[in-house]
Amino acid sequence: MSMTMRCRSTSILSTLRRLRGARYRLLGGLCLASALLAAGCGGGSSSQRGDEPARPTFRLEVVAELPSAATPAPQTGGSLDGSDIGALALLPDGALLAGDVGARRILRIAPGGGVTTIVDANGRKAGGRDGSGEAPLATPADLLPQPDGTILVADHWAGCIRRILPGASEAVLVGYRGRCVSVGGALEEGPMVPTDGPFQTAVMNSPAGLSESPFGILVADSWMLRLLTAENQVITLYSGQGFPGSLPWFTSVAWDETRNVGYATSVVGTPFPLVRILPTDAGLRVEPLATKGEPIRWASDVAVCPSGRVFVAATMSDALYELDPEAGELRLAFGVPRSGPNPDPSTPLPQPRGLTCAPDGSLYLVTGFGANRIVRLVPE
């Protein structure tokens, strides 16, 4: 859920280094990489066979840890009630935005380390003024800062994209006929049949990923990839409803300025975990991105770095991959892919999410099973 346009600040690294000593327990500089790599857990080339291309190597630094809920008990089937950070974005001033889908709020982690709430669980800005969105913030699944200072928020369960304006007031960009819906009760108006057209009449389903593109804002919206045009129109570029097998579920989209192409990930592995969005004379075309190399399941997040390197997080596989778009090859970049449905407690990158690339090519993401550890992977 990232792209190069959102992370152009040159001061990001220096400001994030200053995050130490904040109100929350910040562990910037406490590098776990050496221990992980020594244990053979990282993406180090020492584990490579001689005839394979060298995997990228990263140094892992823990940037911050936010309070999370207690360790989950088995078989409860429940959700944690505490923080669950699902999205990260970098601001031009070096601050880090975090979408907390567990506590239903958006946090700003200042360069100096202070953590403040921009929008809280009740859809009110900090300080208590009501937001203008009809339904409270539900699940901020992705964040897209805009050049004018507003922040677009993909509110997954509320079925809308909100605009957080300077001063933290809210507006709805597009949703269910111009509004956000409460998770269950707002179904009173009948089935939420996805509909294209002007923002005020269009119907979104469950937007989870946002990205700028030269053609408008790309949206990963459940089984659809959609485009929000500058003319305030919603256009569905692709719908998985017409294909047999499991319905794809798109959760992330990113535009590659280097290659003038977009990518989207689907957490449901079939019919394909990755697609490519190609400009054509007739508009944008979506096609499967056949990949070779490491098999990948649960592709959930994609980020494109300014250099053109493309990374894919597989949240439910506990691993980060690098995509070679020209060769269509995926290579393990960091972590140990989960071999079964249960996580390995010692895995070095449990459930990576919120993937974002910084201008220097380092990656920021959230990791931890039931935890919210914000880490930085620095290329070596």
Binding site: A69, P72, A73, P74, Q75, T76, G77, G78, S79, L80, D81, D84, G86, V101, G102, A138, T139, A141, H156, W157, S182, V183, G184, G185, L187, E188, G190, P191, M192, V193, P194, N205, S206, A208, S222, W223, Q241, G245, S246, L247, W249, T251, V267, V268, T270, W298, S300, D301, A313, T315, M316, S317, R338, P341, N342, P343, Q351, R353, F369, G370
Partner: protein
């Protein structure tokens, strides 16, 4: 309004009388198998009035069932979503079904952690689709363990069931049949009612 009902636990069709709609279990399985998900306290992520987990092995097909005294009840798929608020966790679909009878829309039932494909076969509930008794919803499956789906073996595989009803004035709420945790129920056993006169959330049916 007087309410008469005969609720047969054992897979027989619901036989109800009165103004409420009964909803039947989607498959045969265990009600709150481990006592972690009792409807008096289980979480309600979709804003319903009560919820529980209903357990069955992976690959068990599930279907929609509802009934009134006249037998005229049906469902409309109102929303097809992901089961987890964090979209990057994946634990199957949630299918939210509006429940209707001759008097109109009465409420909804949500089925979460639904698998839409099994063994080369797939169900694809689409938004707006009409569901009658026995209409397929999907299968149970064991999803990767995450904070959203804290299951670590096949015995924990379940669908999350959640109910809500259209409010009157004063507000009334859907209710659950007061089964014992761990009780085994056959498919289409009544498990909740929509359109009741119950006055509190998370209440057993009278």
């Amino acid at each position: 309004m007087r309410v008469f009902h005969v609720l047969v636990v054992g897979g027989a069709a619901l036989l109800t009388s009165g103004c409420w709609v009964g909803v039947g279990t989607p498959y045969s399985g265990h009600w709150d198998r481990f006592g972690f998900a009792h409807p008096s306290s289980h979480h309600r992520p979709w804003g319903g009035e009560w919820a529980t987990d209903f357990y069955a092995p992976p690959g068990t097909p599930g279907a929609f069932y509802s009934s009134t005294a006249s037998g005229a009840a049906w469902g409309l798929v109102a929303r097809l979503g992901g089961s987890c608020g964090n979209a990057q966790y994946w634990a199957g679909y949630v299918v939210i079904v509006d429940v209707h009878d001759d008097s109109g829309r009465r409420g909804w039932v949500a089925y979460a952690h639904v698998q839409d494909t099994w063994g080369g076969t797939w169900y694809r509930p689409s938004v707006g689709q009409l569901l009658t008794n026995g209409s397929g919803l999907g299968w149970t499956d064991r999803w990767p363990t995450s904070p959203c789906y804290q299951v670590t073996n096949d015995a924990g595989v379940h669908w999350h069931l959640e109910l809500w009803q259209v409010k009157g004035n004063p507000p009334t709420y859907s209710c659950y049949e007061p089964y014992t945790s761990g009780q085994y129920l056959l498919q289409n056993s009544p498990f909740g009612r929509i359109g009741t006169t119950v006055s509190a959330e998370r209440s057993p049916c009278p």
